[in-house]
Symmetry: none
Subunit: 203 residues, 4 copies
C-alpha cells in the first residue's frame, strides 16, 4: 500500500505548498524543502511539476471518496445521504484548508491544462451526488423532473462556493452544521414559501 516514504512525503509537502502559494507560484524547491528531500529527488518520483499536482488530487480526492462512501454505506435514505455528503465535504474542507484551496483553485487550472482531467477521480467524486439523486428518484423521493446531471453540479457548486468562506479570509462565522442545514433546506425544499409556489410558474 505505501508506495514509498518519500513519495508520500512529497505529496504531503506539495499539498501544503500548492494550497499556500497556488500551483504556479509554488516552487519545486518549496515542495522539496517542505518534504525534506532534495530537489532532484522529486524527479525520481514524479515526471514533472504538473504530475505532482495531478497526484495530489488523485491522492486527496481518493481519500475523500473513500471516506464519503464509507459513511454512505451505512445509510439508505437518499435524503440523509445527501446530508451526509454535504456535511462530510464541508467538514473536510473546513478542517483541511490546504485541500480545499487545492481543489477550488488548482482543479480549475488543471482542467484547462489537461483538458479532460476532470473525468478521473474528481468526476468519480461528484458522481456520488448524481448517484444519490438517481437513487432517490427510483424510490420516488426525489422528483423525476430533476436532471441528476445538472443537479449534481448545482449541489457541488453550492458546496464549493460556500466552502470558500473558509479559504479566503472572510470572517463570517458560519459553522459546518449551520451551512449543512441551510444547503439541505435549499436543495430539498427550495427557498420558496409553500404557499408562494402556487402563484408562480417558471419562465
Amino acid at each position: 500500500m505505501k508506495v514509498s516514504n518519500k513519495h508520500s512525503k512529497i505529496i504531503a509537502g506539495a499539498t501544503k505548498v500548492f494550497a499556500k502559494k497556488g500551483f504556479f507560484n509554488a516552487r519545486i524547491s518549496d515542495i522539496a524543502r517542505e518534504a525534506k528531500v532534495a530537489d532532484g529527488t522529486i524527479y525520481l518520483y514524479f515526471n514533472n511539476k504538473f504530475d505532482i499536482l495531478i497526484s495530489v488530487f488523485e491522492e486527496e480526492i481518493g481519500n475523500l471518496i473513500k471516506q464519503v462512501n464509507k459513511l454512505l454505506a451505512a445509510e439508505d435514505d437518499p435524503r440523509k445521504m445527501l446530508e451526509i455528503f454535504a456535511r462530510k465535504h464541508l467538514t473536510v474542507m473546513k478542517k483541511n484548508k490546504n485541500l480545499a484551496e487545492v481543489i477550488q483553485i488548482e482543479l480549475r487550472q488543471s482542467a484547462k491544462l489537461v483538458k479532460d482531467y476532470r473525468n478521473n477521480r474528481f468526476s468519480e467524486y461528484i458522481n456520488i451526488i448524481s448517484f444519490i439523486i438517481e437513487l432517490g428518484q427510483e424510490q420516488n423521493i426525489y422528483r423525476i423532473s430533476i436532471n441528476p446531471c445538472i443537479a449534481k453540479r448545482a449541489f457541488f457548486g453550492a458546496l464549493d462556493e460556500i466552502s470558500r468562506i473558509w479559504t479566503v479570509g472572510t470572517t463570517t462565522g458560519f459553522t459546518v452544521e449551520e451551512i449543512t442545514q441551510q444547503i439541505l433546506e435549499i436543495f430539498l425544499c427550495g427557498i420558496l414559501e409553500p404557499e408562494a409556489s402556487f402563484s408562480y410558474t417558471i419562465n
Copy 2:
C-alpha cells in the same frame, strides 16, 4: 464611452488570452499580439500583468452588473428576478466563454493573490442575489429561515459550476433554458417530492 481605443483593445485581448491559457500561462506578448499593440504599449495603460487581470474583472463584471440590473429594474416579483439573474448569467457565460473562464479560473487565483480583492466588483455582483432573496423575504415569498448570505453563495456556486460545461470541453448539450428551468426548480422548490418532505427532517 470608449475611454481609450487601446485600453479596451488590451482588455479584450487579455480576456481572450487569459481564458485560453490562464493567467500564469498567458504571456504579455500574447496579449499584445491579440490586441494588436506593442508589448510596451500595455504598460502605458496597466501597471503590470496582474493589474490587467484585475481590470478585466472590473470591466467585464461591471458590464454584467449593468446588464443584470437593467433587466431586474423592469421586474418586481422576486421569483422572476432570480430567474432573470440565472438566465442572464448563463446566457452571458455561454456566449462569452472567455469571460466565463476568466471568472471561473482566475477569480480564484486572484482571490489568493490579492486577499480581499473579491470585495470589489465581484461582491457587488453576487450581492444582487442576496438582495433579491431579502426582497422576497420581506414580501413573504421566500422563507425567512433561509440565510441570504449562504443562499447567495449556493446560488452563484451552482450557476458557476454548471456553466463550466461550456468552458471545459464537455459535450452535454444542455441549453441555457433547460438549465435555467432546472436551477430555478431546485432553488425555488427543492428536489424533494412534496409528499417526501413530510417524512424527513434534516439531521
Copy 3:
C-alpha cells in the same frame, strides 16, 4: 549667444537629473520633465542621450574655464594662480553639487564610452594647471624637477577627490578656505617638516 531657450532648459534639466541619478539611471523623460518640454522635443536639440551628456560637460566646464581664466588674468604670481585655481574649483563644486557629481562620476563613464573625449574641454581645463606650473618654472618659482604633466593630474586629482566630501553625504565640515589652505600648503611646501627632509631621500 543664446542658441535657444529650449536648448539651455534641457541642458539645465539634464545637469540636475544626471547629478541626482547618474547618467545610466537618468531617464530621458526625467530630463524632459525637469526641462518642462516633451520627450520628443529633446531629440530636436540632441542626437541621443549620450549627446546630452557631452553637451552638459561642454557647457558647464566651458563656463568654469571662462571664470577661472578671468580670475587668473588679473594675477601673475604662479603661486597665487594655483591658489586661485584651487579656490575657484572647490567653491564651484561646493556650490554646484550637480556639476560636481556630473564631473566626478559621468566624466569617468564617458571617458570609457567615447574613448578620447577627455581631450576636449576637460583637458583644456586641467591644462590650466600645467600651464601655471610651467609658468612658475620659467620664473624659477616652481622646481624644474617637477613634471607638469604629472603634477597637473596630482593637483586636479587631489581637488577632485576632496570635493567628493560635499557630494557624498559625508559630514566633515571643512570650509572651502580650510581646504584651499591645506591643499596649497601640501602642494607648495609638501607635508614634510623642513628639518626632516635632510634625513630622507626618495627610494
Copy 4:
C-alpha cells in the same frame, strides 16, 4: 583558501567585464561567458548585479589592503611608508587595469547607489594613508599643521587621477617609478623652490 571555484571565477570575470564596459553596460551574460558559467549560476552566488559589483570591490580592495599592510609592516619610517603605499598602488593599478578602472569608475557610481558604501573596505584602504601621516606627525616628521583627513584624500586623489593614464588610452609613457618619485617629491617637499617659499604666504 578558495571559498568556491565558481565564486572566484565570477568575481574575476565581473572585474574584467566591468572594467571593459562599465557597470551599466556590462551584461550578466557577459560576465557569465567570461567566467565560463551559466547565467543562472551567477545568481547562486550573488543576489543581483549590483551585489557583484560590491563583491568585486570587497574582494579586490581587500587583497590590496592585505598586500599594502604586509609591505608597511616591515617599515617604520613614515616617509618610506608613504612611498611604499604610492608605489604599491600605482604598480597594482598599472598591472591590473581591470581593477583600476573598476575602482576609478564604478566606485563613484556605487557611492551614489549605496550612499554610504564607501565606509567599508575602501575607507579602510585610504585610511592607511591618514594613519601613516599621523604616525609621522607623532614622530615630528610630518608637519603638525597638515590635516590628515584632507591630506589622505589629496594623496589618494592624486594617485587615482594619475593612474588613469594607464586606463584611458593615453600614451604618456611614464613608468611607475617616475610617477612615484614625482608624487613623493610633491607631497613631501611641495613643488616650490625652497627660496621661493620665503616670498609667499597663502591667501
